[in-house]
Amino acid sequence: MSEIDVRLRDVTKRFGEFVAVDDISLEIPRGSFFAMLGPSGCGKTTTLRMIGGFEEPTAGTVLLGDQDVSDLPPYKRDVNTVFQSYALFPHLSIADNVGFGLREHGVPKAERTARVGEALELVDLTGYDTRKPRQLSGGQQQRVALARALVNRPRVLLLDEPLGALDLKLRRQMQLELKRIQQEVGITFVHVTHDQEEAMTMADQIAVMNEGRIEQLGGPTELYERPGTAFVAGFLGVSNLIAGRLDGTDVVTADGTRLAVAAGALGGRTGAVRLGIRPEKIRVADGDAPAGAALVGTVREYAYVGVATQYVVDTPAGEIQVFHQNATPGVQVAQPGTRVTLTWDPQATFLVEGETE
């Protein structure tokens, strides 16, 4: 895994005054499934387009392997793209769509036919060769777009929100399908999405992006368990952030409550911070709780959703959301107004920056 397929070095992209991508550096190892995740306008698609060759970086370099491709047009780069709108050629048959790249690269007809057949088989579309794109359903068109890119055996496959246009059920199915295909062909996938669940399900490495920068880069569990910024904590799932000041290994809230921080989560921070704890890591208890990992509060509202009960609890440290698994039979729901003690394992906490006014 040590070989690097894509390298961005201090890459910046400006459109006039607007900085779309702000000094990004990253390395994507060979054979990995890499996701760029963020809200619209965070620069993820622009970054992808710079790797694909559709945008030229204002500053910095893009490398594929050891080759500097910053100034090369798309047709001189060993990457292929699956576009958001699929961008299938409406005037060509499915076979000609998939074989387009092979023909441009001068692959002889016999080999072309064989490889197109293999690619269609890979995406489970054998027998659709003579159809036109508009004669297929959305999900099938998506798979044609994938086959059209993969058939060229590129060094890197770029996917620009490839599942965005599909309905939820089909999207779930395609997520698993994409993951399977990636493992089968072993090509590096770079995937752009605004759907955190999609990124978590598929990717080995996720770069969470915001306002043209990478907020945090890591594996799905790392990003979820130890988000480094409030943005990441909020973008991947739900989290409770409790403001306070760091005192040794404790966070002291405004009302004087001391809350312990996991040793590995300190990360050299000092002063004003926020302590984070995910709703599903909190237990609702009645009795006393260990100091340093508990808050006492009043239930304000609840929502019983069968598999779990969600509470909003008012505590001196602010509003806390709790996601209580209904694992035991005969579920007792704490009614609004009930005083409860919320406890958690200090190991489950994380720290992010303090609130900026």
Partner: protein, 277 residues
């Protein structure tokens, strides 16, 4: 009362539409009808008797035949030149931001909005001042001028809705700029380009006013009819007019038929594909 109104609503529209069609088609029907007339004298204005004599030899007046050939030559050349230039101009106007794009966009419509009589007169003045002898070349030049405007409008309409991602996809798959144009852009705008060419051809074949100013001694089909009208239009003109109409309608009918059949098949296949999920 309500039923009566609904009846009127349904059938009145049909009736009005029918009257409209009669109004439009009556002159053409008269032309076709009189192509079978057997006029007594020079004038083909009153019905004398049925004959297919002129349909058997529509080209036996040499001057008429030559005029028709000249018209077709000019129309072919003018539509080819105008379509190529018009397509390139629309590509530039839609795809590239350049200094003077707005002005060009405006000026390109000038030949469409200028009265033909004014344009014809000023073209003649121009050719005279430049010392260019009027003839085949000047007719061609004049026709290209007014055809370009129509070509630009037609092709532009096709380009404005063009998905640029298709071109990006082609480049992504290894096609350079020229290959991308030939394999993706051109095939996709071809319906617009074809329409522009047909429109140019029709405009050119039909033009009288501007041609009348720029023709010198060359005679085109409309000029021949104009000249003949004073001494009596030969029946062959009706025959050729009807032929031209039939060819045009035939081309249109084929186009409509093909696109209807294709659309129906695509819909059926896409529905079946969606159901398979």
């Amino acid at each position: 009362m309500r039923r009566a109104r609904r009846f009127a609503g349904h059938h009145l529209l049909t009736l009005v539409a029918l009257l409209g069609f009669i109004y439009i088609l009556a002159p053409i029907a008269v032309i076709a009808l009189f192509s079978f007339n057997d006029p007594a004298g020079k004038y083909n204005y009153t019905w004398q008797g049925f004959t297919t004599q002129y349909w058997q030899n529509p080209f036996d007046i040499p001057a008429l035949r030559d005029a028709l050939i000249t018209s077709i030559q000019i129309a072919l050349l003018a539509s080819i030149i105008a379509t190529v230039l018009g397509t390139l101009i629309s590509l530039a106007l839609v795809r590239h931001a350049f200094r003077g794009r707005g002005t060009t966009n405006l000026l390109i419509f000038l030949p469409m909005s200028t009265p033909e009589i004014v344009m014809g007169a000023s073209l003649l003045a121009l050719f005279l001042n430049l010392g260019v002898a009027t003839g085949f070349a000047t007719i061609l030049l004049a026709h290209v001028v007014f055809c370009i405007a129509f070509c630009v409008v037609t092709v532009k309409a096709r380009l404005v809705g063009f998905d640029r991602r298709l071109e990006e996809a082609a480049m992504d798959l290894g096609a350079n700029e020229v290959r991308t144009f030939l394999r993706v852009t051109l095939p996709l705008i071809l319906p617009g380009v074809g329409a522009a060419a047909l429109l140019s051809f029709a405009l050119s074949v039909d033009d009288f006013v501007i041609t009348n100013f720029t023709h010198g001694t060359v005679v085109t089909f409309p000029l021949f009819i104009w000249g003949a009208a004073r001494v009596g239009v030969p029946v062959q003109v009706n025959v050729i007019g009807t032929l031209i109409f039939l060819v045009a309608v035939g081309i249109m009918a084929i186009g409509v038929l093909v696109s209807t059949v294709r659309a129906r098949r695509d819909r059926a296949l896409a529905e079946r594909a969606a159901e398979a999920h």
